[in-house]
Amino acid sequence: MSTTELNEQVIHVSAEDRALIKAVGHGLPVVSHPYAEIAKQLDTTEQDVISRLQHLIDNGAIKRYGVVVRHKELGYTANGMVVWDVPDDRVEELGMCIGKYSCVTLSYRRPRRLPDWSYNLFTMVHGSSREEVTKKVAEIVENCNLQNIEHTILFSTRRFKQRGASYTEKKYTPREETPVQTTAKDKSRRLHLVK
């Protein structure tokens, strides 16, 4: 499958907005007039920066605006990605039910990749310990009536990277021109990415 199926939702972003998104992507400067400082970098005015950001909030490009906390440093040391194999016609209903819990921070439908991967609903459950996460998942199963839905908890054991997304555009050479080295491993692999 290609990722082009996601294109419908993508908002057209001007070059100016893209530069702004890049400038604020890793956070506002911690100074008295943060937008004036960003404006200086982008060679525009403070008011222009503020109204562009307001526009990105209004059109839904920005989901949340404020302090972004890191759960682990706040004592929520255990996070379990809980994946569920839900009948297709019930994903929305159950996704909404699970997403309501305060310990849950994500509830997404994603594709199955059969035969390797059969789970189609992804939720993130946070807690102060593994036991607490497991207990919360049991509560969710009980309250949302998920007893017959197969699920598994993938606990994180190490964080290699966590930061805001970078939306920088890049120029790439076309794929055909990229020299591809075939290794012995290739033969035994199933590539999900390339059809």
């Binding site: 990722t3 199926e5 294109n7 893209r18 290699f160 290794t183």
Partner: protein, 159 residues
């Protein structure tokens, strides 16, 4: 450094809990916080810098909705234990990768890749496979059922 929320000062707890969403877009957001919390602006700047230095907050600013201004996917790889660290480092080195976690499962490396277009994303995924020499499974978000209200921290000292 896993502090409990109650190890933070009352001011820090307010900064952590009260401003996760709908922060004002005024020209002086920190002065606004100072006024609301009854402290000086310098104190706010100092506290935010300190929380950032200690890794408690990753930033102050926007959280972008997935797949609106860019295209992203969650990718998973099944890597033999002895190779995980090395493969994870290669993956983290890509600027398009913003989250990268090891998890307990046959698929043990999970990371989010965000790019400016679907084509850019496909190329990055392809390059990751080439550089790491392992196949990846791409699981793009199809629907979002979560209304993001920020993370509710349980505090004893404040509301």
């Amino acid at each position: 450094m896993s502090d409990s929320i109650n190890n933070f000062s009352t001011l820090e707890q307010h900064l952590l809990n009260d401003y996760q969403r709908d922060m004002s877009l005024s020209a002086t957001p920190y002065a606004d916080m100072a006024k609301q919390l009854g402290v000086s602006e310098e104190k706010i700047l100092e506290s935010i810098n300190s929380l950032q230095d200690r890794g408690v907050i990753s930033r102050v600013g926007p959280v972008f909705r997935p797949n609106r201004i860019g295209v992203s996917t969650l990718a998973a790889m099944a890597i033999p234990e002895q190779d995980v660290e090395c493969v994870a480092r290669i993956i983290s080195a890509f600027p398009e990768v913003n989250h990268n976690y090891q998890r307990e499962h046959e698929y043990n490396l999970w990371f989010v890749v965000t790019a400016s277009s679907a084509e850019h994303l496909d190329i990055v995924l392809y390059e990751i496979e080439q550089h790491t020499e392992y196949p990846l499974m791409s699981l793009p978000m199809l629907d979002d059922y979560f209304i993001d209200l920020g993370f509710n921290l349980k505090m004893s000292a404040t509301k």
